[in-house]
């Protein structure tokens, strides 16, 4: 539980995870800036256009399902070998 987050401790590079789906989200995929950068599956179509500014991770599903997948990855406590 992180309910009592003290935002003054928050830093982009350790606390912010980004999510996008397309080439226009390139700024969100600046890996060095954020703790982790994630694309939903559809982002794979845009990897070429993204060049080097591609996400570090990708969800197995697209669009809202991808968001749910990422949220669950952040929410799950203890690894349970999700498939």
């Amino acid at each position: 539980m992180k309910a009592h987050l003290n935002l003054s401790d928050v830093s982009l590079a350790s606390s912010v995870i980004t999510l996008g789906d397309s080439f226009n989200d390139a700024p969100l995929f600046a890996e060095a800036t954020f703790a982790a950068t994630v694309g939903v599956r559809g982002v794979l179509k845009h990897l070429e256009a993204l060049g080097t500014q591609r996400p570090g991770y990708v969800t197995l599903t697209d669009a809202s399902k991808g968001f749910v997948e990422l949220a669950d990855a952040l929410l799950e406590s203890g690894r349970t070998g999700t498939r």
Binding site: F23, L28, G51, Y57
Partner: protein, 637 residues
């Protein structure tokens, strides 16, 4: 030996009255390419039965057509007795009961009921024939290498599939899975769940994220790594832990051939020869019940090679012993019973080749006062053999070779990562085994994954998950499907908020859009709109929208002129376009002069991430930072 007598043949035992049934079975099997022995001699000539017995001896499988007619045939009974004889190791019977009659009262059934078979209606449906054929194929198919242990069979499949992948170019996941399943059948029938145990099914989902040309190669490397790391070390670690359960003067019953048990005993032999010399081994002969006709022999040979004098106990004697039958008491006191396990459920149930009779006795051994009531029953197996869900257990048990022994039947489960005993409520939880393998697989993937490809989100490091405080997410296409928010996505907003993870919405849409969304979405404490130009801080005491340009009024006015110019130019290029309109007209911002606009002809081709995104990259990063800074100030106020 003639062609028909070569050992891959199937013998059919039947009464003359049932010849039409035998013919249909033979026809079906021959159609599948199986050699079937069926006598053609005149049944009255007096020589046929000897020929038949010779053929029976040389066959791998004997199908017994059990009907009211054959139940009273002395020839059929004679054949059944020969095959059911515990010392007979060559031929495996398959009972085929046809018709609705009291077959359980017949001697044929009594002799053959412990083998898997088929009970069919009088008309012997196609479905019954199919089930029979499957049993035959399963046994014939696995016969040549049937004595491979699970670990050996897995390795054999792995070697073959890796060779296949090395030559392959582009393959789909389903092609790879299909090949794995074929090879699994070739090496050991249904009796090993290759894709399940190697987490290959899961890994193929990950490999689907790679460009098609990279998949086969990646999966080949993955399987090599899985075997080098998880299988090999798992085996050694289970054996090491199991060896710890061997004590001086133990009488150890080994109920099935298992590499892990062999390895454990070898360890004891190496580390403490004196202790080893005090041990007594009894190997249960399961001949005929499984295909592993040579297994007890193999175990006995290997134990003998170590200098032990193992005894073989026929299965029937073992059962007699378990239930306390006085004839079997010469065996004496047994104090350890080791099982090499095929698979576990998450709750510690044991998936095991058909041992139904043993199962009930083991479970109730204390209540029944069985001679092994005080013996320590140890089930050993690697963590990767823990089924990830009940569906996997059901899939294995759907195979008639398998059954499930409740975890309560054993005292200790020994795995490579730990030893598990029941808690006060009699429960065992093996989910740590699953996470152990999944974590190992994640780290293999990280090491092997092509550098230019994004990793599956499964690989998000634990420390990143732990420290995540903000999720900055695009909206359209990332959180929505076809511009709609799903119920599931909405639920995650609520859940993220309740777990202290804040969401910042990032969008190219106008400030008004973002403000509204940010207002209504739970957990969204800020929104960055207009491609990073505007920040909306929902809980701020200000009006809620902040321009991130840092300009004075005059500077902004100049830029607004540039925007108007730009707009006019754009409308010339795109006469059908309409200027956007929102509630935050006073917050418009823009470049100091109109950028070069692209004509409709140029637009689709030149729209690349760099030209489109660069101007906004800095502002988005800045705005997320500002959102945090402002919040900090606000919190302190």
């Amino acid at each position: 030996m003639s062609e028909s007598q070569q050992p891959e043949s199937v013998f059919i035992s039947f009464a003359e009255e049932d010849r039409p049934i035998a013919d249909r079975v033979a026809e079906r099997l021959r159609h599948d390419g199986v050699r079937v022995w069926q006598y053609t001699q005149n049944a009255e000539s007096g020589t046929w039965h000897l020929n038949e017995l010779r053929a029976l001896r040389d066959s791998k499988i004997a199908i017994f057509v059990i009907t009211e007619a054959s139940a009273t045939s002395t020839a059929c009974l004679d054949e059944a007795q020969r095959v059911a004889d515990p010392s007979q190791v060559e031929t495996i019977p398959i009972p085929l009961v046809v018709g609705a009659w009291d077959h359980e009262a017949s001697d044929l059934w009594l002799l053959l009921s412990k083998w898997n078979g088929v009970i069919a209606s009088p008309d012997l449906t196609e479905d019954a024939l199919r089930r029979l054929a499957e049993l035959v194929h399963g046994r014939l198919g696995s016969r040549p290498v049937s004595s491979l242990s699970t670990g050996q069979a897995l390795s054999a499949v792995k070697d073959d599939i890796c060779a296949f992948l090395a030559d392959a170019e582009e393959l789909t996941s389903s092609e790879i899975l299909e090949k794995a399943s074929d090879l699994q059948h070739k090496h050991r029938g249904n009796m090993v769940a290759f894709a399940q145990f190697t987490y290959l099914d899961r890994e193929l989902q990950a490999a689907d994220l790679l460009p098609p040309a990279h998949r086969a190669d990646y999966i080949r490397q993955y399987l090599q790594a899985f075997f080098d790391r998880t299988v090999a070390s798992g085996h050694a670690d289970v054996a090491r832990r199991l060896a710890g359960y061997v004590e001086a003067d133990d009488t150890i019953v080994i109920s099935e051939y298992s590499r892990v048990i062999r390895q454990a005993i070898m360890l004891v032999n190496q580390s403490d020869p004196r202790l080893f010399s005090t041990l007594r081994f009894i190997v249960v002969g399961r001949i005929g019940m499984l295909l592993m006709a040579d297994e007890p022999l193999r175990m006995v040979e290997e134990l003998s090679a170590l200098g032990a004098t193992p005894e073989i106990m026929p299965f029937s004697v073992w059962i007699d012993y378990l239930v306390g039958h006085s004839d079997s008491m010469a065996i004496g006191q047994v104090n350890k019973l080791f099982f090499g396990v095929e698979a576990f459920s998450r709750r510690g149930d044991i998936v095991y080749p058909q041992i139904v009779k043993e199962l009930d006795v083991l479970r109730t051994r204390v209540a029944l006062g069985s001679p092994i009531a005080k013996a320590l029953v140890v089930a050993a197996g690697e963590a990767y053999k823990v089924c990830r869900d009940d569906h996997e257990v059901s899939k294995m048990v759907a195979d008639p070779h398998y059954t499930v022994m409740p975890s309560a039947a054993v005292d200790v489960i020994v795995t490579d990562i730990g030893e598990f005993r029941h808690d006060a409520e009699g429960k065992v939880d093996l989910s740590s085994c699953i996470s152990h393998v999944a974590t190992a697989v994640d780290s293999m993937r990280k090491a092997l994954w092509p550098a230019e490809s994004p990793l599956p989100v499964w690989n998000l490091p634990d420390d990143v998950r732990e420290s995540a405080a903000i999720l900055a997410t695009d909206i359209d296409g990332s959180v929505t499907d076809g511009a709609k928010l799903s119920l599931e996505a909405l639920a995650r907003f609520v859940e993220l908020e309740s777990r202290g993870i804040k969401v910042i919405l990032i969008t190219g849409r106008s400030a008004a859009w973002a403000a509204a969304l940010g207002h209504y979405l739970p957990g969204a404490f800020a929104a960055v709109a207009e491609n990073g130009a505007v920040l909306i801080d929902r809980d701020s005491t200000d009006d809620g929208a902040i321009l991130l340009d840092g300009w004075t009024q005059d500077e902004r006015a100049q830029r607004m002129d540039a925007v108007e110019e730009c707009l006019a130019e754009a409308l010339q290029l795109y006469p059908d376009a309409k200027p956007g309109n929102d509630n935050f007209t006073d917050l418009r911002t823009g470049p100091s002069r109109c950028p070069r606009l692209l004509s409709p002809e140029q637009w689709p081709h030149s729209r690349s991430a760099t030209t489109y995104a660069t101007p906004t990259a800095q502002s988005i990063t800045t705005s997320v930072g500002v959102a945090l800074t402002r919040r900090r100030v606000w919190l302190r106020r």
